[in-house]
């Protein structure tokens, strides 16, 4: 019986145990896409973890450098593909700031509204998938999916597409909202709140769920900052760091919202911060609906060809996973000289090995789930 000869020979002749490497991914139900990690396990205990990324690399930065400023937008949708609006918002605002273009106020409100709906969408994906990671048989997943479908329906009505709307434009948004938008949006919000309550009831109060997540890999704010961890994972440690408050952009200074924080930064807090953020986002969407002024949605007199002279800028936004920063360098012409994405999933993922080593195999899956990575953003 020659199973794993390389490991068998290591233990030949005595009763010592040897560590075993277990490959998880890229085709594995719990890796949320095409992530791969090689776990070294001593029985059930993880003693080593080697993450491998790059299966979804599409060369976003190079593609952007070789396209017109406006053409490149579609690629940015596809980084954090669970929240396309947040990504294109970040890119569009970065280009606007670099080129000195002002979007009309109505467009800014529409953007904020869409970005917050996107955030809810992405967080719902996390809540559902995380329940599945912890082992619930798809019930949390379908609960979350119901609400996601409604949000996607709304996106389709507004922009004509669900996942990759490419709805924003440099200088505003493509077209105005449909006439019945406010009513539809309030319906969706009511449904979202119901869905959040359902998920809260299904998971938060569940003995097994709490038992699995509570006290698993608690981290301090210092630890998280040292590793470049941002977003809900950083806020779970108790630090109320949110780019929307710290370095506001768009209409966020005019919106009233709280920053939910956790206490000990463990898996349970990470889950709970995201759940609470959905309520905050719903609040913001409501405020946008109420405060939205009339008027144009696209700035008048936009140049036919967008040329940006010398300039350089790093524009951080609060993506759904953390600090989603766009770096652009212009040296004249219609294309950026250099484009760079600071993707939060990638930085958060770099903390994975430290978190996972020392836990159990089952915990490794849950911890990976709690990082809430999206591979489009990790691999760019």
């Amino acid at each position: 019986m020659a199973i794993w000869p390389e490991e068998r020979t290591a233990a030949a002749g005595d009763l010592d145990t040897v560590d075993m490497t277990v490959n998880v991914g890229p085709q594995h139900p719990a890796t949320h896409g095409v992530f791969r990690m090689v776990l070294t396990v001593d029985g059930e205990r993880v003693v080593g973890c080697e993450p491998y990324i790059g299966y979804l690399h599409r060369g976003l930065e190079k593609l952007t450098e070789n396209a017109d400023y406006r053409q490149a937008m579609g690629w940015w949708d596809r980084t954090d593909y669970l929240a396309g609006m947040c990504c294109e918002g970040a890119y569009v605002m970065a280009v606007e700031r670099l080129a000195g273009i002002e979007a009309p106020e109505r467009a800014e409100y529409i953007r904020a509204l869409m970005m917050e709906l996107s955030r809810i969408n992405s967080h719902f994906m996390f809540l559902g998938a995380f329940g599945a990671d912890v082992g619930s048989f798809g019930t949390s997943f379908t609960y979350a999916w119901r609400e996601r479908e409604r949000i996607y329906d709304l996106f389709e009505e507004v922009a004509g597409d669900r996942m990759f709307p490419t709805y924003f434009r440099i200088g505003g948004v493509t077209m105005d909202l449909p006439a019945n938008f406010e009513r539809r949006c309030r319906e969706v919000l009511a449904s979202i709140r119901q869905g959040l309550e359902d998920l809260d009831g299904l998971l938060t109060g569940n003995e097994v769920f709490v038992e699995r997540c509570r006290g698993l890999t608690p981290v301090t704010p210092e630890w998280a900052i040292a590793r470049g961890v941002t977003g809900p994972m950083l806020r779970a440690t108790g630090l109320a760091w949110d780019i929307r408050k710290a370095e506001p952009y768009g209409v966020y200074p005019k919106l009233d919202f709280d920053i939910p924080t956790g206490r000990q930064g463990d898996v349970f807090d990470r889950f709970h911060v995201r759940l609470a953020e959905c309520y905050q986002s719903a609040r913001m969407v409501e405020q946008c609906l109420e405060a939205m002024p009339g008027g144009r949605v696209l700035a008048p007199k936009l140049p036919k060809t967008l040329r940006i002279n010398e300039g350089e800028l790093y524009f951080p936004t609060e993506g759904t996973k953390g600090e989603y920063g766009v770096y652009l360098m212009a040296r004249g012409g219609t294309q950026p000289y250099r484009a760079k994405l600071r993707s939060p999933s990638f930085c958060n993922l770099s903390a994975l090995r430290e978190l996972v080593v020392g836990t159990y195999v089952a915990d490794a899956i849950v911890i990976l789930g709690s990082l809430d990575i999206v591979l489009g953003e990790v691999d760019k």
Binding site: V41, V208, A362, I365
Partner: protein
């Protein structure tokens, strides 16, 4: 009803006819249990479940079985051939043997065994051999992890299971399943021994690898566990064994705790009513197990073990002790029932209290429901 003896005076023919009936019944039940599970869980998840094959998807199980029969039987290159190929049979045979000892109606099973309960445990314990063989012989690391997990889990949970049932057997004074069922004419044992029933259900969930104890087959961790390398007919043997075991345990639980074919009016209305009673009660237990699966996440291996060794075993031995004291002093059954209900309430209450003792989350808006503050 004695078919063979009645017609030809041959007891072996009688036994064969009974076995054929039970096996046919089991096949139909298993096919429709998979269908039922998919439908029930679909309801929980706001889906429809199978709808396309036959009216309301009723032929889905048949279609699945045909598909599995036609699939290629793949054996990994580094699998241990005979271990790999025999494992499904060794998982399946014990379950099948157990069905031979279960009474479906008064004095009607394949065989009435004076030590029926003992037989059920002894034979179901063999199940683990097939699972371990599958885990070791597949030459796959997920399968190895799954097999070892299953072994540890099944050995541990066998103890509270046996002890809890032993407590009931003490009251009944027999291990004969028929006699135990017959004894529940006025009240099912679950009313007298609720704590034993809770322990039994928990341990059975674990023995069957159902959620929240589906650790050996954890889909999101080890992708199916010990049967990850099996395909086609061999894989379907594992499925058949799983659902047959589910059914067998449910009938067993129905007979021991819910009054089996006896309660209510079992003796008055004839064998057809007794058969209906047994089947309906077992299906109710199965529904409960599906419900749990649709709701609960999975425990971790060490939590599973500590729950068994630190909670279930102690409680089940305490139950055994209490029952012994009552029998020794000959106190009334009402007092025993009251003590047992109190015990069950305390046990479940302790689990619940552990659940609500959560980290401080009052600054989290999403937790308003648990923290007692109003939502924004």
């Amino acid at each position: 009803m004695t078919f063979g003896e009645a017609f030809f005076g041959m007891s072996w023919l009688d036994a064969i006819i009974r076995i054929v009936i039970v096996v046919l019944l089991m096949t139909v039940v298993v096919v429709y249990l998979t269908y039922g599970e998919r439908k029930v869980i679909a309801r929980f998840q706001m889906r429809l479940g199978p709808t396309r094959t036959g009216p309301a998807g009723l032929l889905q199980g048949v279609a699945d079985a045909l598909k599995l029969l036609c699939k290629e039987d793949v054996r990994p290159r580094n699998a241990d051939r005979w271990v790999f190929e025999f494992a499904p049979y060794l998982t399946f045979i014990p379950v099948f043997l157990v069905l031979a000892a279960l009474p479906f109606a008064r004095d009607w099973g394949v065989r009435n065994l004076a030590l029926g309960m003992f037989f059920v445990f002894a034979v179901l314990g063999l199940n683990i051999v097939g699972v371990l063989m599958a885990g070791l012989g597949s030459g796959n690391k997920y399968a190895l992890l799954g097999g070892v997990r299953a072994a540890a889990q099944m050995i541990s949970y066998e103890i509270p299971l046996v002890v809890a049932l032993l407590a009931v057997a003490m009251l009944a004074g027999t291990l004969d399943l028929n006699a135990i069922a017959a004894m529940q004419e006025s009240r099912p044992f679950v009313l007298v021994q609720p704590l034993a029933f809770v322990i039994f259900l928990t341990a059975v969930l674990s023995e069957l690898h159902r959620a929240p104890f589906d650790i050996p087959v954890a889909e999101s961790e080890i992708v199916g566990g010990y049967f990850v390398e099996y395909s086609g007919i061999r894989w379907s043997m594992f499925q058949l064994a799983e659902y047959a075991a589910l059914w067998a345990f449910s009938i067993f639980g129905a007979v021991v705790f819910l009054g089996g074919w006896q309660f209510p009016f079992g003796d008055d209305w004839g064998w057809w009513w007794q058969l209906i009673l047994t089947l309906v009660k077992s299906l109710l237990l199965i529904l409960l197990i599906f419900w749990v699966r649709a709701t609960l996440p999975r425990l971790r291996m060490d939590q599973l073990m500590s729950f068994c060794w630190k909670a279930l075993i102690e409680v089940s031995f305490a139950l055994l002790l209490v029952n012994g004291l009552f029998l020794y002093f000959g106190w009334s059954e009402i007092i025993l029932a009251v003590v047992n209900w109190a015990g069950a309430a305390a046990f479940l209450g302790a689990i619940y209290l552990r659940a609500i003792r959560k980290p401080a989350v009052e600054n989290l808006v999403g937790a308003y429901k648990h923290a007692g503050v109003s939502p924004p």
